[in-house]
């Protein structure tokens, strides 16, 4: 436990439509999702006095001040950890509301990942990819699946992990997506379908890779004290932490390429929360690739390193299993909203608003972010 344990809470959530062609600007998507989250929290846009925009997609605090007429924004920051940004942002937001620096902090993401620049073009412009931009991209290692595939290959060679085990993750998450009305991928999928999907970068097949999507999502963090007077049941942040892997800018140089920054974040988050992996009722795990889900389950301590393959078998990670994951369909099958859709889903689950995918009696949940070649963030929430 720490002095921040339980001091901040998620008080509002919002999502735009998810699609492959939004027809809206990235800023408009962030604003639309934010307005919904602010309304859900029972607030006026002018009440927002802290903001963490998604810098990678070009959002800046000034956009929120301008569009919402905020008179005195007291706190702004960015947490540039790629797909771990919004979960890492929870840490900054809780620090701000717990110390009284701000009352209501907004975290928003909007992107045109499908209709805008695709990942092969996008990553070359990101400063955090400067190292591999010079030393690996000229050789043909351009996009995340190529950068992550050697991690998965080494895991397979060392521990006997199989492609069918990765398929268990893809199929489970698709089954959950079929229960969610916002999901972009709702066609049934079997392990054989996964095995028949085309190879992108061996051992990662098409169905091991997430979607590229358009859309926006947002949430509001307020102090738990203040949240008692707000309309929604506060979803308290029990623990939150970020972790950066060794050699964060180049997987090639990482001593153990089968371990992510998540392994550094997880013990800190669990310790702050005062709970352990066995206490988690539902987990929304950042799923840019099936292998990254499996690796995080190990790094989070749900199983030992090397045992992720067997852990995901036998229905354990599906609804009704010991650890249901990605109950909304994740980045693999719902939409790629950079994991902010994972925070929204966990909040719904803990409010009891999970719809057909509601995990019965869910009281404590975990959400992760992962990005930029190994950065990890973990948050543990409770109703």
């Amino acid at each position: 436990m720490s002095e921040l344990t339980g001091k901040g809470a998620i008080t509002g959530i919002g999502e735009t439509d998810y699609s492959k062609r939004s027809g809206k600007s990235v800023i408009a998507l962030q604003m639309e999702a934010s307005l919904k989250a602010i309304e859900d929290a029972g607030l006026s846009p002018k009440d927002i006095d802290g903001v963490l925009p998604y810098a990678t997609a070009g959002g800046v605090a000034e956009d929120f001040i301008t569009n919402f007429g905020i008179e005195d924004l007291r706190f702004s920051a960015t947490t540039p950890l790629g797909g771990a940004s919004c979960v890492a942002g929870i840490q900054s937001a809780v620090m701000a509301v717990a110390t009284g620096v701000a009352n209501h902090v907004l975290i928003a993401i909007g992107r045109n990942g499908a209709s805008g620049a695709r990942v092969g073009a996008r990553v070359q412009q990101m400063p955090q990819f400067r190292t591999i931009g010079e030393f690996e991209m000229p050789l043909g290692a351009i996009a995340p699946p190529q950068l992550y595939a050697p991690m998965a290959r080494r895991h397979m060679e060392l521990y006997g992990t199989t492609s069918r085990q990765l398929g268990e993750i893809a199929v489970t998450v698709r089954n959950h997506a079929r229960l969610n009305e916002k999901s972009l991928m709702t066609k049934p999928m079997t392990i054989d379908d996964h095995q028949a999907s085309r190879m992108i970068s061996d051992p990662l097949r098409l169905f091991d890779c997430c979607l590229e999507s358009d859309g926006g999502a947002a949430f509001v963090i307020s102090s738990t004290e203040r949240a008692k007077d707000m309309p929604r049941p506060p979803i308290r942040v029990l623990g939150v932490a970020e972790g950066h892997p060794d050699s964060p800018s180049a997987i090639t140089q990482r001593d153990d390429m089968t371990t992510l920054g998540t392994a550094k974040a997880a013990p800190k988050a669990f310790q702050m929360a005062g709970v352990g992996p066995a206490d988690i009722d539902v987990a929304e795990i950042y799923d840019c690739f099936t292998y990254i889900v499996m690796c995080q389950l190990e790094d989070l301590g749900f199983c030992k390193k090397g045992e992720g393959g067997s852990f995901v078998e036998g229905g354990r990670i599906g609804l009704g299993g010991d650890l249901p994951i990605n109950t909304h369909g994740g980045l693999l099958s719902q939409a790629h909203i950079v994991g902010l859709n994972h925070v929204v889903e966990l909040t719904k689950q803990l409010r009891g608003d999970g719809g057909k995918a509601q995990v019965e009696g869910a009281e404590v949940g975990l959400v992760t972010g992962y990005g930029d070649m190994g950065d990890g963030a973990v948050a543990i929430l409770a109703r």
């Binding site: 092969g120 030393f135 050789l139 043909g140 190529q146 050697p150 080494r154 970068s201 090639t252």
Partner: protein, 138 residues
């Protein structure tokens, strides 16, 4: 080769990395060697993370290494690589204790395994840039 016809990304060496790229043009694999504690490091950078010395010199590597991991890419994320598919990208432990990521050429995928012995070779991309590749060690 006509530089304008080259349609893949090219490195933009800076003051910290220029000796590495200059070395490749001379068919030498050059690595940073810490002037303070003697550690070899890669990729090139200004500070030794062991002794914090900024004193650096460059040594020629043996070019010998062992396969650490790999991927075979079947999808061209940039158009320029389409004609190279499938593309075998290897992560290799160099004898000097650092790693490199390069295309591995002339090896049957069925022979791939951790520890496979490889060595560095050189391919001119343009008149100004030579890229490293791995080939099977003979």
């Amino acid at each position: 080769m006509d530089a304008q016809a080259y349609d893949k990304p090219l490195p933009e060496p800076d003051l910290d990395s220029k000796p590495f790229w200059d070395g490749l043009n001379n068919h030498k694999l050059m690595l940073q060697h810490c002037g303070g504690c003697g550690r070899i490091r890669h990729y090139p950078r200004p500070v030794c993370d062991s002794c914090y010395s900024m004193d650096v010199d460059w040594v020629e590597a043996s070019g010998e290494g062992a396969l650490h991991s790999w991927t075979i890419t079947h999808h061209a994320f940039l158009h320029g690589f389409k004609k190279d598919l499938p593309l075998l990208l290897a992560t290799v432990d160099l004898a000097e204790g650092v790693r490199m990521n390069c295309q591995l050429k002339g090896v049957d995928p069925a022979d791939l395994n951790i520890g496979l012995a490889v060595r560095v070779a050189y391919e001119a991309a343009t008149e100004e840039v030579t890229l490293p590749v791995f080939v099977a060690a003979q």
